[in-house]
């Protein structure tokens, strides 16, 4: 789709895990990511993770609004020869929806996901809090849904759509965290959907990698394929599943790939032969 992506190789942690320890240090780390991105001379920074996007956005906000803190952070950046400069910060979802655009995506689709129904989980930290310039509307986020419809699939709405996956608590309160994950999976399992689509690696860790652990915590059986949006996009662009990392998802994604393939066969041969 005509986008060149440059990997920010020297980049380290954005600071999200240490906001609880020292918010200033977390803001410094977020500002450092922005400063490193500035070194490339490019105008756009793509952050594919909700928590990172939130943390870096809060860093940028404090650099703009608090001269005392901004001054201290700039001093620290100077110790590494780095300079802070403004850059446009994107998340996967608003980058694809607003920058590339739905029409471009529709045009790029070569294998429409006909007959596939999906539930979405856009997560928490890219839609809240609105004062911070987020990726989508806080009470009725629709961009991920529209991105999925652009692939030819259908969205199924549900009450629990804005519920949190619980990732923040997985290390300190694992039972509570998995309880939140499991409750949401229970709700999704009741829907007539073929998959749950997420837009954050943290949420994916809970719904996908820890789906079995969530089963134990809430006493249920789950068989919900959980994939990150660009994996679904890749399938609609006819990209091989292994290149999309589908071999590494822990949830039963094979049943989704199989259904996509068989639906596409049926739609190519409507007579069924």
């Amino acid at each position: 789709m005509g986008v060149d992506v440059v990997d920010l190789r020297e980049s380290v942690c954005c600071g999200a895990p240490i906001k609880s320890v020292n918010d200033f240090a977390a803001n410094y780390l977020g500002a450092r990511v922005i400063a490193l991105a500035g070194l490339t001379g490019l105008e756009n920074l793509l952050v594919p993770c909700n928590r990172c996007h939130f943390t870096i956005s809060e860093s940028r906000n404090i650099m703009k609004s608090d001269p005392r803190i901004s001054g201290k952070i700039k001093d620290l950046l100077r110790e590494e020869g780095l300079q802070y400069s403004e850059i446009k910060i994107w998340h996967t979802i608003d980058f694809l929806h607003d920058c590339i655009g739905i029409e471009q995506i529709k045009k790029a689709v070569t294998k429409p996901l006909t007959g596939i129904k999906v539930a979405t989980h856009v997560g928490c930290q890219i839609i809240r809090y609105s004062d911070l310039e987020r990726v989508d509307n806080a009470e009725n986020p629709r961009k991920l849904d529209e991105l999925i419809c652009a692939l030819g699939a259908e969205i199924v709405d549900y009450e629990e759509k804005l519920d949190c996956c619980g990732y923040s608590l997985i290390l300190s309160h694992p039972d509570s965290a998995l309880s939140l994950t499991g409750s949401k999976l229970k709700a999704v399992q009741k829907l007539p959907v073929d998959s749950l689509v997420v837009s954050c690696p943290g949420c994916q860790t809970m719904f996908d990698s820890k789906q079995k652990d969530a089963e134990t915590t809430v006493g249920a059986k789950f068989s919900t394929p959980v994939i990150y949006y660009t994996q679904l996009l890749g399938l609609a662009l006819n990209i091989d599943g292994n290149r999309l990392g589908l071999n590494m998802n822990q949830s039963p994604v094979d049943q989704l790939s199989a259904k996509i393939a068989s639906n596409q066969n049926i739609s190519r041969h409507p007579s069924g032969t």
């Binding site: 380290v12 009470e139 939140l180």
Partner: protein, 169 residues
């Protein structure tokens, strides 16, 4: 131990309340009128009994000292619903994060993984070590097998800058 157990005849400490206010960087807190919109949508309410409106009320009254040493401030899932919905632009989430920072300054008991993350970032730049994983088809995969670039150790100048950042209160 619930927050109420910690409170019997506590004396307000307005200086500590001032410390929390400073950490809020201009965000509101004093104007909370206990509408409880935050608590009624709080993700951690049912399972962990977190009541954000209670935390703000206690801090506003000056009962700050008990909170950094209590377990309740570590139950917040950081979903940000309270920040989004407060009609007064107060933010229980930011107050809780300020209390967590105070807990670290006081060297209070806290979930250990936060401090482990800090030392890991100092050493390697990342929160955790990349792992080998076993896929659902029972294959072992790691960064090398995926031909991902090697991760370089961080520069000394980064480490000393981060250590200085950690000293900031």
């Amino acid at each position: 131990m619930s927050v109420v157990d910690l409170m019997s005849m506590a004396k307000p400490n307005l200086e500590a309340r001032g410390k929390v206010l400073t950490k809020l960087h201009g965000r509101e807190m004093v104007n909370c009128f206990q509408c409880m919109k935050c608590t009624s949508g709080c993700t951690a309410l049912k399972l962990l009994e977190l009541k954000p409106h209670e935390i703000i009320k206690l801090v506003n009254l000056g009962f700050v000292d008990e909170l950094p040493t209590s377990n309740i401030i570590w139950t917040c899932v950081t979903c940000l619903k309270c920040v989004e919905r407060c009609p007064q632009k107060a933010s229980p989430y930011h107050v809780i994060m300020a209390l967590r920072n105070l807990a670290v300054e006081k060297e209070a008991k806290m979930p250990e993984h936060y401090l482990k993350a800090v030392s890991h970032i100092l050493e390697t730049g990342l929160t955790d070590t990349p792992e080998k994983i076993v896929t659902r088809k029972l294959q072992t995969v790691d960064r090398d097998s995926l031909k991902l670039p090697k991760i370089k150790p961080p520069m000394e100048s980064f480490q000393s800058a981060l250590m200085k950042a950690m000293e900031e209160k």
